[in-house]
Amino acid sequence: MNRTSSVSLQIAFFIFMIIGLSLFFGAYALIVPAVVAYIWGAISFGQWRIRQRRLSLEEARQQGMNRFGLPNLPRFYGFQTVLWWLLPPVLLLIIYRSIGTPILTGMIESEVLVLMGKTIDPTSLHEFARTTLAALGLSGEGSTSGFTEAQIGALPGLTDYFSQQHGLRRLFWFALLMGALAFWQSGPRAFTGNQGRVTVFALALIGILISILSGYGTASIIILIILAITLFSTDINAPFARVLFMATGVGVLIFLRDQLAWGEGGWVISLLIIAGSTVVLWRQGMRPRLSDQMFVLVLLGLATLVLLTALTWIGAYSWLFDYGSETIFEVSPGNLGLQSQKLLNAIRDLRSGLVVSNPDVAAAASRMSAAQDAYRYGYLAVVLLGIACGVVGSLIFVRPKHRAQSRHESAANFGMMLASAAAILVTVGIVLALLSNAELFFSKYPIQDFLFGLHWSKDAPIREDQAGGFNLGAVPVFYGTLVVSLVALTVALPVGLMSAIYMAEYASPRTRSIFKPILEVLAGIPTIVYGVFALRSGIPFAKDIFGGIEWVLELRFLPTPMHLEYLDLAIGAKSGVVAGAVMGIMLIPFISSLSDDALKAVPRSLRDGSLALGGHKSETILKVLIPAALPGIMGGFLLATSRAIGETMIVVLAAGGQANLTLNVLDQMTTVTVQITELLIGDAEFDRANTLSVFGLGIVLFVSTLLLNLAAIQIVRRYRQRYS
């Protein structure tokens, strides 16, 4: 693509994006081009400044810049200038908003309180909150002498609040961060060979033991998974070893904390951990330098600690404010909220020119309206201030420096690493969310009843003798999943494999050009479409077919006395076999493309060899190609299974909701995904056992798909070198 068409394409894309955004976001979308223009201005300014310096080639070489980089040098300064021009305004905006919004809300509440005719002045409420907090001190456990009755009344709730947000807790997490870093740094350099495997094994055992002893039994599952992955690999090098070491160390620390019932001693122990870690890290050569990544991490941890503690205080303050208004002045927060909304409505009416009947309300509304306007102008002022700071900062701090390029590049490197880490974070998030909630579930309903129980009725009324009041034996649900998947694979595997074989070995280019798009379209159809097709077309069709079969086999075309009555092929409103068949149709392109890849990977020479011996194409395929491509085909089969058991919409619409442990596949049956859907649709409360069973089901689903995928990868990898 040449330069002009690329530029015009970029401009076209840009314009298209603006239009699209403004269709949805209205005038706000204009912010985007404004910001882009701003950034472009920053870059140009930075570049212009450096060009003024007129670095010669010689100077550049002395500074260690490459010749290729010299024309790019302005770009780095442009980027640094952008950072300066963007960060101060954004930071200031965030601070302004965090402070301003609560203030504004407080003002509204004060006005409302006045309007409600209470002889309050909100200053007494502020007084109340402030003195209470000042007396309680940093950890919320200060002296409570001299407290008024109201303040004493507030203590239980406040203590509750603080116990949840306890600063000490925070300190422990900070200590944990430092401890983790220390473990990482002092971890072993390598776990090679068999000794390495033994060490890994030992560490895993410690981890499992700790998690079971501390009640996080389900965390041992994750350790088992890591162990499995590790044992498949041939060598365990330094970073991985250190991660393992660090994870075990962190686990030990958490275990100790739980066992030692922190009290005042918690301070001491946290500080001890921090001191010890500092010593270890210092001896490893880590020094307080901004370029040292570990140090930056510690600083960030400290900053987060301070920030969270400050937020706790702000939270406590507003809690006290609400409490005060409720007890001292007998205004319930709910009522307060209602009245505030009324005032907000009045403000809105005033702005759109309507008349507000109540003069007091009108006065308050106009005052608040003025305040809101001031707040909005404040935004503008803050942004301008930030821009000014940024420009000044860029003028002072962005200067031609040694090695600007490598600085820039290492920053870019770091950014890319973060992006990659994001993918891991998602996995971690999934596993953590599933595990922690599954733990909660298994604490209310025993795991063996769940995994091996034969009765599933999540909506059953509470019975005295049932734990939690529900029957949550998941075997019928697992069974349904397996049956439907089996039907799907029975349909998909032959059709998919044979179509791949035909396309790869027999089809003319013209045939291929017809059927390839057909398969691609089938692959791209969303599953909801298949689901609706199964429900509205598949089930009536199956009813007719099976009705017809029954009609023939039971001799209904003969006079009545000769009828037989041994079959029951009736299909109700939902049916497992229909869902399975349509799911199979959905899987056909998937299996076809994976088998096609597997077949194409077999070298031509094997085909030629078989043909030269007098084999037909079919014989070559059956006796040579498929055995050679078998790992790939098997891998594709396993991946298709994994997709089948995770598929939702087809089964939700066509398979049924009642757990049904039956051999009759024509009957309706439910699957894991259907149950998850039914449990989470609508507003679900996550504290009842039946909603929590979602996580039990989710973990089973996740682990099975994970194992299937891993197995598929392993099979393909391990047997790949068989022929070459």
Binding site: S605, L606, G609, A612, L613, G614, K623, R722
Partner: protein
């Protein structure tokens, strides 16, 4: 048993618009080694592949002319291609044993064509083939081992055994030694001379010395034409065609 096993008459091959083989006529003698020599891309392998109709699997290839095996046209509709390929076997440039055991490799063809009524007969066929390929002594105790575990030379001999197992009449060899080291090459060349006692062998080779060592008749191909065909002695000592003269003298190719 006739002298001439196969006869090619004015064979042309087109790959799409490319006229790859221009009117080649040749006789292939029985119990004799015929070598096809010439520079790269001059049609030797193309011609070889015509003889067992392997060009059929190339969709853009078009073959004209007549090729006779024992007097009957191999392109005749009534002739089953699998029968043709049973009678005219092929060994490829790079050894291509199947990812199966040694035994299964050799037994593949016989099983396919139903040449043995029971396991004992099959064992016999396998042993005969491996002996004919000179491999029996080396592998008789590990017939179930993976064929891909053999060395290059052994793999090529295995492919020869595989081809011999179906009792062919002609064996085609497309540069069978070019992927082998000199010692393995020597073994295979001795094998070829041995096999020549029973089969008609056509061998494509880049190596003029190899042609001199094994072939009785040599044909020189040049840019799709068969420039000259004569006894090996004649071709190398007294070439008639100027192109042959140049090639043999080492001027090109």
């Amino acid at each position: 048993m006739s002298e001439i096993r196969m006869k090619a008459e004015d064979v042309h091959v087109y790959y799409g618009d490319n006229h790859a083989l221009k009117g080649v006529s040749m006789d292939i003698k029985n119990q004799h080694v015929t070598a096809l020599i010439g520079p790269s891309g001059c049609g030797k392998s193309t011609f070889l592949r015509c003889l067992n109709r392997m060009n059929d699997s190339i969709s853009i290839a078009r073959v004209e002319g007549q090729i006779l095996l024992d007097g009957s046209d191999i392109h005749d509709d009534s002739l089953d291609v699998t029968l043709l390929r049973q009678r005219v076997g092929m060994v490829f440039q790079k050894p291509n044993p199947f990812p199966k055991s040694i035994y299964d490799n050799v037994a593949y063809g016989p099983r396919l064509h139903g040449m043995a009524k029971n396991r004992a007969e099959l064992d016999e066929i396998v042993e005969e083939a491996l002996s004919a390929a000179g491999l029996w002594e080396e592998v008789y105790d590990r017939l179930d081992a993976e064929a891909l575990g053999l060395s290059g030379g052994q793999q090529q001999r295995l492919c020869i055994a595989r081809a011999v197992a179906v009792s062919p009449e002609v064996i085609l060899m497309d540069e069978p030694c070019s992927a082998l080291d000199p010692i393995a090459t020597g073994t295979v060349e001795r094998l070829i001379l041995d096999l020549a006692k029973d089969y008609a062998i056509v061998i494509v080779t880049h190596n003029m010395q190899q042609a001199q060592r094994v072939a009785g008749t040599t044909a020189f191909f040049h840019l799709g034409d068969m420039a000259e065909m004569a006894s090996t002695k004649e071709i190398f000592e007294n070439p008639q065609d100027p192109r042959t003269k140049d090639y043999v003298a080492g001027a090109f190719g």
